[in-house]
Symmetry: D3
Subunit: 295 residues, 6 copies
């Protein structure tokens, strides 16, 4: 049981971090286990609202995860795969958008509202927010060459138009963004949520980009939690990739951070969304709990 | 083939209506056939954008229609009915919201963007826009008494908080709103789109409320299109209901208009969404093409 | 008799032009027959008000024409001429200013007000709007040399101070400007209205300069109305002058356009003020009805 | 020869009056000899500019005087009279407006500009400033009854719309207003300049109304300059009219003051425009130099 | 040693209080031991800055305490006393003001600045902030009657002009105010700091008034710390005074709270400034640590 | 006895200077005899208020003078001196700040308030206004070398943060500033008031810096008042120092002016504060009464 003085002390300890981030924008990619477990969900929403109340401007980008697969199964849409990647045809894209923009997005918004924040859910098709184009994955053909291959309505970011998001944060709302972009003819593209978060952080000249993941951060030795790399310079990334320290799904996440830093974002953070209030701990402590990628 | 002069003449004819509505808010309920037929869709969107460009602030509320049934069927959700009304359980509500807020809403937004407007899609759960509560339908029990009956997540409007919509129209966006409200715990309720449009028109102190329907307006003799009532005073509504001139599905629509007028909306219009550019014709001509309900 | 749909169609056709010019400034030189014929006057005023209501900022510069001569005759002022140019002495200038700023200017203002617009009449002496200096015309002397000759209070524009006009357009007024400038000691100079319109368009960073004239535009063959040059690049002007295609009174008008384009105005238009609603047709159709001079 | 200290002292003496009027509006009716004599003209303009620079918002309304008669003679317009009042037909009104709005108005503007102020000349037809209607003078008919008689385009003020004038004073301009109003169809009416000044002072919620006249103020004994009434309460006016102390042309001037005071103007002043800098002396000294009419 | 999660939990616990006070003004009377002990001083300043950073607008009013006596002694000023009250003559007042406005005030400002806040020190003579008048204490004369007695430059508040303080809080500064008022001729009066804080809270329409004292709050039994009255309604105050529960120096403090509540302040708090971070504990916990006086 | 016309004439004469300085900032160093003599004090305050009312933004920096010595004596603090300079230890600095910020500063503020202005007293420790560091005077040691010597809390300006002062002038207040700066740890330093005024003038991008002194200005021959140098270019300063024309205490004052000019201040003025209204005479006359140092 904490004494009143201990409680006061902790508030006081947070003061320098509150000061440093006051008025700054923080873009948070919210996905994985942090989106599935109810207790974690509440913790994330509370953290985001607290950030808002101490003067920070949080912006959420969420992913989709298993809900999309569930709904595709329910409607009986069977996907074809090209070397492990799902081909997203028109019918699949419709389901993807419904789940992202019509279910997950609105659930997050409703939870923030319920806990006392003011949130507005957006997709990248709203207000011209995310201009996208078809992504051509490099896929090995029979001759073994990697050739650009059409895998349907999977997109790359062409341009972020951040006015709508800025307008909303200035009016005190927390924007919650589904990672969908609009093509030249307004058609929807599914975009990787990490990429959307990174590009948005750059367009908003954010101070921080935080990726909530299902790992502890980058471990020098993946079997030793004590080997967590707390801080990483972008100049050291490629060496770590070659050494295999950064590997698999972590590679695009780190590249996303590198690009954000090069695009002017103050610092980027890969943290463990499975830890309650990891967001708060990362933002209001110097050391944080995951891996920070900086210039 | 029109001459240049004839063309100019028509623009000039529209001038008084443009002047009268400049800077005013017009809430449009968009549903029925106007949402299904591609040509009509484009005509509605073009009309809305034109309204925007001549200085009017249009706000769209859309319905759901057959798309919801289709998706319920696809996911194999069978509805139970109480005296003809579908009981909307939690699972059904999820599908309803996905279709409304994740599919139809974003399609409308994308179409406006494609035609050169700036639209933002919202559900009533965004920014605390629509506060709702469970609606208890009066249903006859075995004894023949009409008792309030729980039919699930079907809601009534408790309060509209129009700040978010106002902020967006002031920044030049066209708000597109799915008729969903948030209960005390943030849970979603499906609300009648006409009702949402009517309440929103009052909260926004709109100059006009326009309901796009699948009928010509109110006909004195339903078999005679020439008997269209162009203008109707709210004081005459109950007589016409008793006479059976206003009947069936038209009754709640007219009541919705009466309430809007009593709540301060300038004029309300029930027009035929099956006619191309009916919106434009109603707004930019004195007589209009449907039935106007006024004080 | 046009159907409602045809009418709606025409409004819809104007949409792209309305969009393109929304919020832009258009400077219109109003003179010649369009100022004399009552029907044409009303058409011009209606066009200007329509432009205003669809979000364009029109600014009118008017000429003087036969009214000045009429008044000079009435007061018995006989003019002396130097090679066809009237010498404007102090007494003449007084009459010129009275007619321009006290009669024509106020008549135009009153007509715009009557048709529902908000206009404010200005002379270039108001608010330091037009700084002028004496113009010395090159006149052949007895030796046949062209020497600068004092022809009285006829002026060149030294500098436009557009703050007053900008302030008024931002408050929703249509400025109507008499082509008079103020010399170093505040004395009035009569300035060519085309020149004032061109200079003002540059100072206001206008999107368009439109000169209402008494000809169809520039004809490649002056006897063939079908030979109208719809669009002309400023680089081709001097050739056409040498070829005699551009000649007489058209030369200064075209030079005025060239200078405006070089000063940053988006496009310039020489159109036939004798055609009703020519202004509207030029602004709201791509091809227009006269000659457009562009970069 | 004044010493520097004496000079400083005088500036210091003006301080309380500057403070009291800072940010306030002062409407000045400028007419009579003060408009004819060059030295007086310059003094008035300098006074007005000084007022402006010490934070007061002066608004000028000017009369017409002998210039109108002169021009009517020059163009050979002969007036008919009804019991001494000139019937102002359409042709006469045209000349009146040209002289007022096109000559005198612009001369005053130019003089203020020359002396370093920023002025904008307006007529009551600009921006809907003065709404007017025909004035019917009470004229004795043959039976000796006073019946309302049409004397042409002579008007009464129906309503002042002061937005344009307010907008200009807020942008730092000195509005200079010709006493012309617009009828229902935009037609011009000549209005008494004292009346325009009084109505304008009320509409602008002015702190002071100052009428520059050709007399010393109200004298208790018209043959004794020492009998000047410095301050007069509106409750005492009718007695003085009955006693004949206020008589002739002074009666409408005083009534104009009474109405202004009743309409909320702080104080009204009838001062001698024949004295150099009388305006400055009235504004920056407590006692002033003429007759102040107050509540 | 607290875990990260415990730390996060405490931040989260503070969230509702942060939300409730966001944007509100809190006036704090800072005096007694909290001003003398260095550790307490730092704790108070940190608390105030934290309040500022989470969106609250704190305003400090400080007392003088023993420093004034010390300086009076150093300069050899011997005070005369009337029934225990020091007579504050001109010479004494000079020292009082120097110590309050020149020493204590600036020390507090410097400490806030050093800890990262932005503070501005004011006396009530700045910007017309506190209008005061001489206070006449009721003193028993020889006949035993209590008669109003002049005890020098000791003042009552006549009027607070809060514009200056409001302007500073809106620009992000923490105003620090010495309890000195200005008389009609600008002369300084020493005013009780509790009274100044109470009046200021009313004038600023503050949400809270907090008096930092050297006692635990109001104890029902002064020998039993467990008998602290946590919350007290203003209607119950007079009974407690009669019962002797509120007595001595606590009476004016409680009256000051009652008056503030009646003047519209949301709640008032008498807390123990000898406890570290008592301010933070009072503001960010529901129960608080002292006595709250409410409506 | 001046006539009304003479009075008006003097106001008119000031007009061009009022125009030129309207909206500009003027920093005034107020010290010496002008601060001691009551009549001069009042004259300075009146001048400052008049400047304010005619649209100038005056900012006062005051010195300390004999009051500091008096108080040091009263509290029995004996100073040690190093080559004529007082060593300002902690105890001395406390007295210095009390006198400057708690006595003189507030007296000046109260006087401006009493005469109708709105003043706010600040020290450089308020709002981070003056960042300072310890000044090391060059003092000759026994070996005759000039070595930097610690003389206590005497400071140099490191940086001016003018936001607070700007905010106050924009709200209509006259800032009155005590020449004290804050060191890295918030500790107070006494700074030369001329230097503070000069640095502040640069930081505020002031139009004028005026130093009120106890001499006539710079005299070419110190025994001949007629040899006053009215205007001096900064390029000529060093020659005059070498010639001994500028000598003694005037050297740092002139250097202060030179630095201000190089830092962008429009003009600097060394004037005689012993002459009543010297400030007004300098500001509102072209020639002024002292020495102007310009580029």
């Amino acid at each position: 049981m904490l004494t009143a003085l201990e409680k006061a002390g902790i508030l006081v300890e947070a003061l320098p971090y509150i000061k440093k981030l006051s008025g700054k924008t923080v873009v948070i990619k919210y996905g994985g286990n942090a989106m599935l477990n109810d207790e974690l969900k509440e913790a994330v929403m509370t953290d985001v609202i607290l950030m808002k109340y101490v003067g920070i401007k949080p912006v959420l980008v969420h992913g989709g995860g298993p809900e999309i697969n569930g709904m595709l199964q329910r409607v009986g849409l069977q996907s074809t795969f090209v070397q492990g990647m799902r081909v997203t045809d028109q019918a699949t894209m419709e389901i993807v958008e419904m789940v992202l923009a019509g279910k997950l997005n609105k659930e997050i918004v409703a939870m923030i509202q319920r806990f006392g924040g003011q949130a507005v859910g957006l997709s990248g098709r709203d207000g011209g927010l995310i201009k996208a184009k078809k992504r051509f994955e490099l896929v090995k053909n029979e001759a073994g060459d990697r050739v650009p291959t059409d895998i349907g309505f999977v997109g790359d970011v062409v341009r972020i138009q951040p006015d709508l998001v800025r307008g909303l944060t200035e009016q005190g709302y927390i924007p919650v963004i589904a990672p969908i972009g609009a093509g030249d003819h307004g058609e929807a593209y599914n975009i990787n949520a990490d990429v959307v978060a990174g590009e948005l952080a750059q367009a908003l000249e954010a101070d921080k980009l935080i990726l909530l993941t299902d790992v502890e951060g980058i471990l020098r030795d993946r079997h030793d939690l004590g080997s967590l790399i707390s801080s990483l310079r972008i100049g050291d990334v490629e060496d770590l990739v070659e050494q295999g320290v950064i590997s698999g799904g972590m590679i695009p996440k780190v590249h996303c951070c590198v690009q954000a830093i090069e695009g002017g974002v103050g610092s980027t953070h890969i943290i463990d969304g499975r830890i309650q209030h990891s967001l708060l701990l990362e933002v209001f402590t110097e050391k944080g709990i995951g891996t920070m990628v900086v210039k």
